[in-house]
Symmetry: C2
Subunit: 288 residues, 2 copies
């Protein structure tokens, strides 16, 4: 068992530590999370460990990326368990500020990545990506990392953050890490803990639908409509299942595509009962 | 005559230089300007010289802070003259990127400081402070200064930038520098060059109106309405004079005040013909 990471709760303590590390020429990696860590997060922390001298994992359930009626209040938390897992992953510091530390009285500034925040999840969660971009900008300024790691499971978030870094010239390299899945294909997510046993069983079909589309593209299918229809049909229909969206987009810009003639991405959001799940896969056009 | 500052045109060259200076433990000061420099700017550059090891003055006429129909196209420029003045002020580097370098194709991110951007100039120039906050965030990330200097003449801009720095945790200290005035009181501005001889003469009355209000407060006047009425009356009415606003606000939050019972600020925007002028003074409540 490795040494437990040191917990840091204030912006000023984090900043002091970060400034010192930078002055010593240390390379800092940041893994931003909302806690209740699973193997997807741990893979990010492990990769960070290999790429940097100092690994900081932030655990902050960011209120401004939740809409009214969303699951902010019941979002799962387990700081003790998180610290044990991060100890094993060799993490140096865990930054766990309070909401008041991050958004003090009088707070009024937001960062918005306009086009990329609009469709897909953005259409159903207004303000969500504005909240994400804002807190990530803040974390970058507080932690001053050389690199920051994000999972591909939240693919629209990844593209929003990459674009923000490029547009606002943050001196941070974004490292994208492939989605980690359960043995039956379900993308790992802290929200999987909400699922009942039967919902959990049905939830595996989300990834199966995406893999099906991926295979059809491998075999030469190029029509996004055919792909989304096939994917839709292959999702298991529990009475509580509700498909919010299944779409094929350009892999880079996330704009709609008429044909799979460049790298694309199929993305979906599906409700199983009261739990909203998202997933995505890359669609590589068949090279003929 | 001191050595001419070195001109830097690309983000990557600026970033390389800045990273090197920081690695050497040098303290960097940034003075963001739109060029056509006057004694107000030079005072900022001189103060920067005293406070830092490396002084960077940016010259960039930021298109996104101009509204449709504003003076972006005719904004005065004189890079050669600017470089001479900055040489005399001991500036090390002038960062003069093109618009395409700062806002490349696909650009889509903005920073907005919400409440502070709304009233005063914000009410008449929608999007202006969003453009200011965005470009300043970019300049901070590119230049990575330890401190940045802003003139009090653009007082709402100063408060917007201070708030952005606080809210987004930029590791930059903002230094506010008092307005530099012409002998007759007119606040120095690149836009003063637009004024005709007669407009220029009338323009002096803007600062006189503000000084009058300041004196009334010193003598015990505490009613913002009385103060703005007196100021209004004392502005010389050229046929081309149009008062856009004269207001008394809290000095810190820029919110309206019912009485001068704390540090306040009187701010105004007045058109002289086709030229929009702004100015402001502090109103200190009489200590009894």
């Amino acid at each position: 068992m490795m040494r437990k990471p040191r917990t840091i709760k204030t912006v000023s303590a984090m900043r002091t530590l970060s400034r010192k590390a930078r002055a010593e020429g240390k390379r800092i990696a940041l893994v931003p999370t909302m806690g209740y860590l699973h193997q997807g997060h741990i893979t990010l922390a492990q990769k960070a460990r290999k790429m940097a001298d100092l690994v900081v994992v932030s655990i902050f359930v960011n209120p401004i990326q939740f809409g009214p009626g969303e699951d902010l209040d019941r979002y799962p938390r387990d700081l003790k368990g998180d610290l044990q897992k991060l100890a094993a992953a060799g993490t140096d510091y865990v930054f766990t500020p309070s909401a008041g530390e991050i958004y003090p009285l009088g707070y009024q500034t937001h960062v918005e990545v306009e086009n990329l925040s609009k469709g897909l999840c953005g259409a159903f969660r207004p303000g969500h990506f504005r909240g994400v971009a804002t807190v990530v900008a803040k974390l970058f300024n507080i932690v001053q990392p050389d690199l920051a790691l994000f999972g591909e499971k939240d693919f629209q978030q990844l593209r929003v953050v990459e674009r923000m870094v490029k547009d606002l010239n943050f001196p941070v390299r974004i490292v994208a890490v492939p989605t980690v899945r359960e043995p039956d294909g379900l993308a790992m997510s802290s929200r999987n803990s909400y699922l009942s046993a039967s919902e959990r069983k049905y939830a595996a079909s989300l990834s199966h639908a995406l893999f099906l589309a991926q295979n059809l593209v491998k075999k030469g299918e190029t029509d996004p409509k055919v792909l989304t229809e096939c994917a839709q049909k292959s999702i298991a229909h529990n009475p509580g299942t509700h498909i919010e969206y299944i779409e094929v987009r350009d892999d880079k810009t996330l704009e709609p595509v008429a044909r799979i003639d460049r790298p694309c991405r199929m993305l979906l959001a599906v409700w199983e009962g009261k739990t909203r799940l998202i997933d995505n896969v890359r669609l590589n056009p068949k090279t003929s």
